[in-house]
Symmetry: C3
Subunit: 198 residues, 3 copies
């Protein structure tokens, strides 16, 4: 399950890098940042070592292999199709990383505001860094569709279940389901948050 999410985030990096006109090196790098950036920033801020990609270095090899594979199969004309197709694993990844990030922060003894922030950061910061290196305004900040808000919702659920002393995995399961299903509903019905009045 987690592997699916990492793959989805990596593929989102590959399509973003292709759009920015990068070569193979850039694609590997942006895919890596999209897949590992959020969790790495979370672990840096919480001072947790070793990083999850140091413990499970198979994940690093996997992302490199995916980039190699994509260099044979993906072409620029495939970008739009791929972006549509990866939204489902991306929604799973969003829910999974938000719930896990919050859980990890609570275990480390962080206050509630920080735990919520860590859930949001570990699920969405990979995408923010991906877009920053591709030199565009981060998509999650400007597309007026709930994405970060759903990550926050998942984090809130984990915090609530935790404060009620429910066994951790029930809260995690519930949070992941709500976030993932929420994201899929948003995508199907094209729901957007109100924009600014001028």
């Amino acid at each position: 399950m987690e592997i699916f999410a990492v793959i989805a985030f990596a593929v989102s990096g590959i399509t973003a890098a292709l759009r920015a006109g990068m070569d193979f090196v850039g694609i590997c790098f942006v895919a890596g940042v999209a897949a590992f950036g959020g969790g790495t920033i979370r672990d840096l801020l919480l001072d947790r070592r070793p990083f999850f990609w140091v413990e499970q270095d198979a994940l690093l090899w996997m992302v490199v292999l995916i980039c190699l594979g994509c260099s044979f199969f993906i072409r620029k004309s495939h970008v739009e199709v791929t972006e549509k197709w990866i939204q489902i694993p991306d929604a799973i990844g969003l829910g999974l990383f938000a719930a896990l990030g919050t859980q990890v922060a609570l275990i480390e003894g962080a206050p509630v505001a920080v735990a919520l922030l860590m859930g949001v950061i570990s699920s969405t910061f990979g995408g923010v860094l991906r877009d920053t290196f591709c030199n565009v305004v981060p998509k999650v900040f400007a597309d007026h569709q709930p994405y970060v808000i759903l990550a926050l919702l998942g984090s809130v659920i984990v915090v609530c279940f935790d404060s009620l002393n429910v066994t951790a995995w029930i809260g995690l399961l519930f949070a992941v389901s709500i976030t993932t299903v929420g994201r899929l509903v948003v995508l199907s019905f094209n729901i957007s948050i109100p924009s600014w009045r001028t």
Copy 2:
């Protein structure tokens, strides 16, 4: 006093995010980066934990509340007025974070060059990250008005007073006043540093 500075930095993030066409989520994020980014990078580099926003997590809630408030009151047409209005608390923040950042680094036993760098980073890096995520060249690097130089001046004053063994708060007070007043003078008289010869 410190709260005023954090608010000023957060509001500068809100106006920058509005200019970049972001939605509510982007505004919260950029406001948070502008308010906490500089201090966080300083603490990461000096390996100080917990971060100041983990210890005082009320600051996090405050920034979220300000963003919520602004979403009702600020409109795009207000951006220019707001940017003018926040220059005074921003000048206070500049002086405050530069002096405190240098002081913190000296207490941690950093050499002089590093202490000066920490003063500059903690007061200006929030703005640099804010502009980077909004996909513009950081304003403090390209507007030819002394800003970082005044932060450096404040840091130098703190280092000088420290090497003379004066009680810390006198040096801090002096540094904050010089930097803040200097910034206000720069703004009133529109002073600029010489640009490059072509």
Copy 3:
């Protein structure tokens, strides 16, 4: 030798900042990020303290002096000539930082994939951050010339020699030579990696 490399990376930062229309402050900052960014990220990820620029703070002063010097001598019209001229020390820096970064990660007990990554990050991330702050797509990701790949080659050589239990400096010397010579060959013959099919 290492000093030459730091100077080369700093000068590459200066020319990038000039191209982006920055003032003196921006030039100092971008030069510092280009020179120290890669090694700092490596040390942050490996949790090594103090940073090399805290131990040898003379390097910080040196970069500031170079920026001051350049502000008198470099003009915008010199940028292209300078960029050509710094490619030789830049190639040395690439080889040196890739080999040293890998060696440092191996000493810290990192797995192979992480050691390779650290070699690549410490030699190329300075340039990536430099271009990100200057608001352009990082050059090493999009110019289709082997640069990161050569850094990776040097890292692989260090890892191979290390696993054969050869004395460290022989592997380092070999890796630095291969990477540097390889880069110079690439530049002379204008070799490029295949681009994407559309």
